[in-house]
Structure formats: C-alpha cells, structure tokens
Amino acid sequence: MRNRKKTEEWFFRNLMSAVTYFIILILLLIIWVVFQKGIPALSWEMVSQTPKGGFYFGKDGGLLNAIVGSLYLASGAASLAWLISLPTALFMNVYLVRYKKFLTGIRFLLDVLWGIPSIVYGAFGFALMIFFNLQTSLLAGIITVSLLIAPIMIRAMDEVLKTIPMGLLETAYSLGSTRTETAFVIFFRQALPGFITAFLLAFGRGIGDTASVLFTAGFTDYIPENLSQPAATLPLSIFFQLGSPIPEVRERAYAAAVILTVLILIISLAARLLPRNFKRNVI
C-alpha cells in the first residue's frame, strides 16, 4: 500500500519535473534559435536608422521605422484598449455583481472575442476602414489592435477584480460612497497592481501581432509623424524581410526578432516588477 503510493508519487513527481524542464528546454531552444541567427546581423545601425534606398537589397539602413512604429502602435492600442477595458471591467464587478447570469454571459462573449484569430480582426478592421473611408494608417492600426487586445485586458482585469472580497464592496457602500467612487477610488486602488500587469501584458501582445496590422497599419519606411500616416511594425518587418530573395536581408529579419524579443522581455519584467511599487496600500 505505502509502497505503491510511494511509487506513484515518485513516478508522477518525476514525470512532472521532466515535463516542466522539457517545456523550459523547448522555450529556450526557440529563443536560442532566434538569438543565434539574429545576433550576427545586429548592429547599432539597425536600431538607430530608418531604411535607406536599397536597404531591402542588403544595403545601408536600419529598422528604426519598425521599432518606433511598433512602439507607437502598441502604446496607442494599449492606451485605447485601457480606456475601454477599465470601465468595462469595473462596471462588471461593481455595477453588475448582482446579475450573476448576465456576468456569465459577458464573460462568455469575452472568451469568444479572445478566441477570434487576429487575421479576422485584421479583416474586420479593414472593412471598418473602407466603411469609414479611412486610409491605411497608424490610427486604423491602433483601432484594430485595440479591439484585439481589449478582451485580453478585460479578462485579466476581471480576474483581479473578481478576487476582491465582497466585504470591501459592502464597506465602501456602507460609508456612503456612490458606485462611481466605489469603482474608481476603492476598487481601482485595490486592483491597480493587477491592472498594470494587465496593461503591460496586453501591450506585449499588441506589439507582437502581425496579422491584424497587415491590412490596417500598412508598412512604410518612414517614421509616422501623425496618426493618419501608415506605420511599419517589427513583426511585419520580420515577416516581410523573411520573404526577401537576398540572404543578408533574411538575416536581418532575425535581428528584428531579437530586438522584438528584448522589447518584450523589458515589458514583461516591468509587468512583473512595476506593480510592486503600487502594492503599498492593497489590503
């Protein structure tokens, strides 16, 4: 009896640790492939200059257009998504707490939105653009990407808000707070660290997405000067350069991937570390 139990525990414990290290191994392998192919093509010029003529034939220039474009696009989209997500998530958890069935319905729809492929968002964004007579532009890209990441953001915020105990809500009300005050003063503060994580993770998701910006933000060698100009993005730059006949250009695609990976790493670390500074007052 004891022996069988021990064997079982031993077996599963080792299986689990094997699986975990296997995952880590695969993940590291991918990151290694990217770095190993990308580092040789990486130079200061790559991150400090926009493409010059002939960049796509292997000549001078860099990826600054795509780096800046990606940052503009992702921060624009994350901010816009935040503007939609925050009220929605608070609304769900402050105003709608008593409508459990309705909430279940909303969460279901959010899951559906989560599952819609980004290329469908891209096509939808393109249709919207045509409908509103918008041109391929940073703005169109921001709108599309924000629609894509808003469900992710809301879901993450909702998970945080759900864990706030009912007692805190009762307390806020019994002090005479209006629902707005409850939402924006008390719940907001309590969930702020979680919100920051949600924002940064959605930002990371937005910066890595290809398909939704393909038809909406376009691709250009210029750094956009306003919202109505098209913008390049790193994922699209990778995608596009990988299609080049010239091997050196394809090498640069990996350099772009390294840059993107480093950006995401920074965002991720920020997402995990930054909230600590806002944890002070959380109960």
Binding site: G54, F55, F215, T220, P230, F240, L242
Partner: protein
C-alpha cells in the same frame, strides 16, 4: 479619382514582391524631385488593387495576372518590370545531369504538376527509376504560381497545381533545395544571385525543352548565368509565360500630374534600377506602348 492626395504626395500600396523596387524608385526619384513625398506601404497584391480602386492610394503594386472580375471594375494598369518563373530542383537531385541534358517540356510539367500522370522520376526521364517526385507549390496566392500554371495549361490557375503548399518564395526555394527528390518553381531572384549572376547554393534549374524534341538544344541552354538568362527572357527565347509582367494599377488613368511624372520616370530612367532588385527590365517595344498609355492612348 485620386482626390484624396495633394499634388506633391504620391501613395502606393500592394504586393510585397514589388515593395523593395518601389522603395528604391521612390528614393531615386526624390533625389530629383525633393518636394515630392512618396508613401509606400505593403499588404499584398489584392490589397493594392482594393486600395487603388477605392481611391485610398494613387497606385497599387500588382504582381499577378489581373482577373476578369478586376478588369470589370475598370482598373487601369501599366507594366513596370518583368519577372520569370523557373522550374527548380535541389542541387543534390540524383538525376541532375540527365535532367540538364534532356530538360522537361511544358507537357511533361503539366503531367507532373496538374494531372499527376507522371509521379516518378523514372516516368519523367523514361527510365525505370521508381523514386517518387516530391511536388511543391506556393501556398500563398502568388503571381509566380499563377504564371506557372498558365504556362502548363493556358486556362489553369494556381489552384490546379498539386503538391505541398509552402509559404513564400524563400520557403519554396528552401524546401526544394533540402529535398533531393523535390520539384518546384521560383522567381528568378530566388534562384540566382543577381549581383554575381551565380545560382544560389543548393538550388538548380530544370531547363525547359521549348521545342519538345526531348533534349536541350544549344539555343535552349542559357541557365548557367543570370546574365544569359535575363537576355533570353528579354529576347523572348525563354517563353512567356512563365515569364510575366509586373504592374502598377490605378482606378482609371491617373489625373494627378505628379503620379504621371513618376510613372514616366519609372518607364525611362527608372528601368536601370530594376535589375538590382532581381527583376527583368521591360523590353523597349513594350516601354514605348506603356508610355503611350500615360498620354491617355
């Protein structure tokens, strides 16, 4: 039709295949006309066409045959460069020598790619070998694939080509070069290094037996070097299709003077940059007729 853009602003969108060349043209043109801003964005041939027809851009970059449905919408187009699709195999193909001697005719290619009557290398080379032919094609809707299909059978489309679909030209080239029994097709620039004229490592061309006499005659043998190949394409010795034209499209003849000037420059001085991008300059005769088109004729 292009009311949305100011006279000093030219916008292009469309095929990624034409993007690098258009960027080069834009840059060179701006050296001559510094007050013209040229916005170029990628997105795919259909995107370029849709944008151009919607008036969202001045010119669409287009890399495949224009379909009847698109022609019905009143699209206007102009040839700006040429390209050619070449049947490719791996450099480690065991029948390489034999193939280079005999070549394959368009009929044989059809039997390989469309009808699948030929499925082994033995059948292709009239020997007893039973090794299967591993067939590859493009998965993404591509001008190259459409042109190749048209070469095999006048009314065939990309969807008629059999085989494993691989994404993008480099993907296809890579898949073919790694698989000794593979057969595929590629645009010129993915087979030859245009700067040196040498074939890219790992990949070889199957010569086309144009006159279908079962061997490659001297006048059919120009695949050694990019230079001789480009000459053969320009001179029509390499059949068309699989040689093909690349277009700029717009919603009717452009009214914008700056756009017309830009197109005119492309058809004249601009042609010197075409080779660098891995494409074939347009023959002089066609250039003339395209220039006529710009004048509304």
């Amino acid at each position: 039709s292009c009311s949305t853009s100011s006279s000093e602003n030219i916008s292009l969108s469309g095929a990624f295949a034409l993007y690098p060349l258009a960027v080069k043209w834009g840059e060179e043109y701006r050296k001559l006309h510094p007050d013209t801003r040229i916005d170029i964005s990628g997105g795919g041939a259909g995107k370029g066409m849709a944008d151009a027809l919607a008036g969202a851009v001045d010119l669409g970059m287009f890399s495949r045959e224009i379909s009847p449905a698109e022609k019905e919408k009143g699209v206007w187009w102009i040839t700006v460069a040429k390209d050619a699709v070449l049947p490719t195999i791996s450099a480690s193909n065991p029948f390489l020598g034999n193939l280079q001697q005999k070549g394959l005719s368009s009929t044989q290619f059809r039997q390989i790619f469309i009808t699948k009557e030929i499925s082994t290398w033995g059948q292709a080379l009239s020997s007893a070998n039973a090794d299967k032919i591993n067939l590859y094609t493009r998965s993404d809707a591509a001008g190259a694939a459409a042109t190749w299909a048209q070469f095999l059978q006048w009314d065939a489309k990309q969807e008629n080509l059999q085989g494993i679909g691989v994404f993008g030209d480099p993907g296809l080239a890579e898949a073919v070069s790694k698989d000794p029994l593979a057969i595929g097709f590629n645009n010129v620039a993915y087979v030859y290094n245009i700067n040196t004229g040498e074939k890219r490592p790992g990949i070889e061309v199957i010569p086309i037996d144009v006159n279908e006499n079962g061997r490659i005659d001297p006048e059919e043998d120009f695949y050694d070097h990019a230079g001789s190949l480009l000459k053969a394409i320009a001179g029509g010795k390499y059949p068309s299709p699989p040689a093909r034209e690349l277009y700029f499209v717009s919603d009717g003849l452009p009214e914008n003077k700056a756009v017309l000037a830009f197109l005119k420059w492309i058809l004249t001085d601009g042609q010197q940059y075409v080779k660098e991008a891995g494409y074939v300059p347009v023959d002089t005769a066609i250039l003339q007729s395209e220039l006529q088109k710009l004048n509304g004729k």
